[in-house]
Amino acid sequence: MIHAQDLTKSFADLQRGSVNALDHVSFDVQPGEIYGLLGPNGAGKTTCLRIISTVLRPTSGSAVVAGYDVATQPEEVRARIGFMSGNTGIYDRMTAREMVEYFGRLYGLEEDALQQRIEEIFETLQMHEISDRLGSKMSTGMKQKVSIARTIIHDPPVLVFDEPTTGLDVLVARAVVKAIESLRDQGKCIIFSTHIMREVEKLCDRIAIIHKGKILATGTIDELESEYDEPDMEELFFELISRNDAQVAAELA
């Protein structure tokens, strides 16, 4: 349901000149699986996910999400995905219910269906107590719940999560991970970026290791571990990164 082909994104930076945030990135994600993007900071994870969710436009390459091209039919794509990241804040002066209702209406849900869905989601995420609380008065955990509710209000087939557990405590992070798992079990197509190994091991069906805009390796965890003969994900990760850096240095020399 997500098909990325040679996605490239370049910026011009005064100090560094032309920078390739993404360099010919390609991958596929199927429904009912969680695809993990693993990489250090500045690897290009956020850029990649923003392109997939039509927030940014690719310099070249293409991406097809839920059957629609992100560059030519962004509105169709946006209607079929749910995006959540550390940067998708909630409105301070809206209550949880108002926020979810607002987005539900924007997505075109009918009033009755919308109300029913809100009830369901509030029940699942146990949000009834914050239903009428203003955003500014919520704790981080509550804000995340509202964000999740906002993300899934229109029951999208594709979900994009960009480091969704950043800054959350153990309990809340666990709740988020559980929620993502249940969404996968419902058959959603999920792409998920992180740099926390535990989450990778718990959640991801397949992963891609991305560094400086390039995908260094991709496959299921078992495949990667056997290929590089490294049972520890963390070590595997470091191995690949350092190997790539050495290669780049050798090429420049």
Partner: protein, 794 residues
């Protein structure tokens, strides 16, 4: 575009703003409280600052005529300053505002101690009198240098200003006696009156530059004039002459102004100015909050992933800002109006004389205020939203919006001037048009004829608002604006980047900078060639040529060489196909008569040229100059210079992101504006568009240069060929004579129009091969041209 979604966004934003305590305070509470508070403050201040009495010293009181009395005689034992006789003042209370000190107030020696202030004043007065006499003597003696006289004058001035005296009256010796003498002569109808020499006149010394002295002087001079009238009437009655002898005419002034009219002219001045200021300030804060604030609070990304398109988001925000702008304006006006009315009726008098009750504006006036408020609010809302989008934080947003506030304040001041009126030309200007129209409609003399201006004003206002809104939408579609990281600006790095990492063609910003540079150079060059001497046309033409080369061609060439890798590509210096050359020549010939007649017919629209300018223009095109030189100066040089600049560097820069119409229109607009005469501006813009199209489709600058050359040459030649061959020949059908220059009749215009339209259509149908794209477009599998915009280059 879904109006349902726009409505959803609009409703959410409004609700959000209304929940913000700060917004509510600024928009609702503040106006309602501010003006009454200010009113109370002003009233308190006015009661605190009573009009201070001013000091008048009179030397030589004893020489004043016995009656009628000028100065109130001092009552025995009375201390303190004296007063002028009340009767000489229009308002009796004014007499109390002048403290009069005379020498007679000094007590006799040995009596009660004299008031030191009185002593000081009189001593100063005597010194001033002495200095004054010295100056008079100097001025009348021949052989004194100017410097000496200046010195004494300055000393006199210093003495006066350092003393505490606001007005000094010096009565010469024998004044009273002289007046009595003339009275006597008149009474006895003696023949000797004719030979009465003029006698010394009193002197009233004051300093107009000192406000206090000025006020005192006005009062004193009014009183003295009234007193003089008193002396005169006594003189006439003593001589048995009619009192009206000196005022044979004394016309009676009849003022037809009603109270409503006076109020109305007040509203007509105040409302437009207030409307502008209020709608800008009302749009200011909501715009910052909705654009920059969104980024600050981290909800920008949440907004961008919702199903609404960027256009819908911007329109929703725009409507929110506009609502607040209109509400602010109306609330402020209401509050100000009510407070002002209240204050006028309680405090009354004062500045407005006898107006104690301002009539409130009529219903139709209020209606017009609302109608014209809407386009103003729309324009400001869109502009504020655009500027606020650039900012990364609310603080930065305020930095961007403050210049807008300055500009609008400037425009407001212009509109307040009574000289500036609505006419066809001003009705097309953005903010000034609605303001002037409102001023006219609100004034009591407003006649129905001004309503006709409502059409262009409203139409252009809508267009300008939509342009501003389009710009806001453009900005919201740019990632580099929405996701701006804070940059650390380093001058060295930036310069190095600019000069080393050059592209083949200039960037958009460089194009704009070139335009700005040319305008500045033009402004600066006004000093040198603004005053063309009509008697030296050759010199004037040379100056004109120099100006074109220096102010127009040089910046473009300089920037092209310094900032781009390929001057050839930037200026499109390649040889075009023969067809294109032929097209350019034909088009120039076809468009010339059309453009000429258009300009002649539009003369009524533009402001009149002052006669000095018309003379200069006539001199430039006179028959005495050699034709080849005129062609060189007025056709060849402008063709080359202006094309290199406007269709060369500037259009390449503006077309950096491979757009077609934006660079053509903007460069044509700049080209039009660079012409100093308003009459030429409109035509020049139109021609600029044609030239832009030629350059775009032929991918070469040469046809444009040729077009420009032929076009200008035809304009010159029509005045030089002579018109005698037209008369009494079949050519009469096609041409006409207009004072030595050729004009064109309908058949010619028709043919020209047909040819021009055909040529233009053929031109527009030509395939687009943009020379500056290299093969960049070929690599992209995605067709939409918006992709290329995303590469950032400042």
């Amino acid at each position: 575009m879904s109006w349902r979604r726009i409505k959803l966004i609009f409703q959410r934003e409004i609700r959000d703003q209304m929940r913000d305590r700060r917004t509510l305070f600024m928009i609702v509470i503040l106006p309602l409280l501010l003006y009454p508070a200010m009113g109370v403050g002003v009233a308190k201040m006015m009661s605190l600052f009573q009009d201070q009495p001013r000091t008048v010293v009179v030397l030589g009181e004893g020489e004043l005529p016995e009656h009628p009395k000028l100065i109130q005689p001092a009552k025995a034992g009375e201390k303190g300053p004296r007063r002028f006789v009340e009767g000489w003042f229009g308002l009796f209370s004014e007499a109390d505002k002048l403290d009069v000190y005379t020498e007679s107030m000094l007590p006799r020696a040995g009596d009660v101690k004299a008031d030191p202030k009185l002593k000081q004043l009189l001593a100063d007065a005597k010194r001033i009198r002495q200095k004054y006499e010295q100056r008079e003597k100097l001025a009348s003696t021949p052989g004194r240098t100017k410097a000496e006289i200046e010195l004494v004058k300055r000393q006199l001035g210093v003495l006066f200003s350092t003393s505490q005296i606001q007005v000094l009256i010096i009565v010469p010796d024998g004044f009273g006696g002289n007046i009595a003498e003339v009275n006597r002569l008149l009474r006895e109808k003696s023949r000797d009156t004719e030979v009465v020499p003029d006698y010394g006149r009193p002197i009233i010394m004051h300093n107009k530059a000192d406000k206090k002295s000025q006020i005192a002087y006005r009062r004193v001079s009014r009183a003295v004039s009234a007193w003089e009238q008193g002396i005169l009437s006594e003189r006439l009655s003593a001589a048995h002459l009619p009192a009206t002898m000196t005022t044979p005419v004394n016309a009676e002034a009849v003022d037809l102004a009603q109270v409503e009219d006076i109020s109305q002219s007040l509203w007509s001045l105040l409302f437009p100015a207030l409307l502008i200021i209020m709608s800008v300030t009302g749009a200011f804060y909501p715009a910052i909050d909705l654009a920059a604030g969104e980024k600050e609070r981290g909800t920008m990304e949440t907004l961008l992933i919702c199903p609404a398109s960027r256009t819908e988001i911007v329109i929703g925000k725009f409507l929110t800002v506009m609502t607040f702008s209109i509400s602010t304006a109306i609330l402020n006006l209401l509050s100000m109006g009510l407070t002002g009315n209240f204050m006028m009726s309680t405090l009354g008098g004062g500045i407005f004389g006898q107006i104690n009750n301002l009539a409130p504006p009529s219903l139709s006036a209020l209606l017009w205020v609302i109608v014209l408020l809407i386009p103003l609010a729309a324009l400001f809302s869109a502009l504020c939203l655009s500027l606020a989008t650039f900012a990364k934080s609310s603080k930065e947003g305020q930095y961007y919006l403050t210049p807008l506030l300055m500009v609008t304040l400037g425009l407001t001041v212009i509109c307040l001037s009574p000289i500036v009126e609505i006419d066809w030309f001003t009705s097309f200007m953005p903010v000034v048009g609605p303001a002037l129209l409102l001023k006219e409609l609100l004034s009591p003399q407003g006649n129905a004829a001004t309503l006709v201006y409502a059409i262009p004003v409203l139409a252009t206002s809508v267009i300008y608002s939509m342009l501003a809104l389009w710009w806001a939408i453009e900005l919201f579609s740019r990632e580099d604006v929405l996701f701006r990281e804070s940059e650390r600006f380093e001058l060295g790095l930036w310069l190095r980047h600019l000069l080393r990492e050059k592209e083949a063609t200039p960037s958009f910003t460089e194009g704009v900078v070139c335009i700005v540079l040319i305008f500045f150079l033009q402004f600066g060059s006004l000093k040198f060639h603004g005053g063309l001497d009509p008697t030296a046309p050759l010199q004037a033409l040379k100056l004109q040529m120099t100006y074109l080369v220096v102010a127009i061609a040089c910046p473009a060439l300089f920037m092209a060489v310094m900032l781009t890798k390929s001057v050839r590509q930037t200026l499109r210096l390649r040889w075009p196909s023969g067809t294109m050359i032929g097209l350019a020549l034909l088009l120039a010939v076809a468009l010339h008569p059309l453009s000429l007649e258009l300009q002649a017919n539009l003369e009524w629209f533009f402001p009149q040229l002052p006669p000095s300018v018309t003379k200069q223009l006539a001199a430039l095109t006179s028959d005495e100059l050699p034709l080849w030189f005129m062609l060189l100066a007025l056709a060849v040089t402008p063709a080359v210079c202006e094309e290199v600049a406007f269709r060369g560097f500037i259009m390449s820069g503006l077309g950096h992101s491979h757009r077609k119409w934006l660079p053509i229109m903007l460069s044509a607009l700049a080209f039009g504006l660079i012409h100093t005469l308003p009459q030429q501006m409109f035509n020049a813009t139109l021609v600029g568009v044609v030239l832009g199209l030629i350059v775009y489709h032929s991918r070469s600058l040469v046809p444009a240069i040729l077009f420009h050359l032929i076009y200008n040459s035809l304009g010159i030649l029509r005045g030089r060929i002579g018109t005698t061959w037209i008369e009494d020949s079949p050519a009469e059908w096609f041409f006409a004579a207009d004072g030595g220059a050729i004009r064109y009749e309908w058949p010619t215009l028709l043919i020209a129009a047909v040819v021009a339209v055909a040529l233009l259509r053929w031109l527009l149908a030509q395939p687009v091969g943009d020379s500056t794209s290299a093969s960049a477009n070929a690599k992209l599998p995605i067709e939409s041209d918006v992709n290329v915009k995303t590469s950032v280059r400042v």
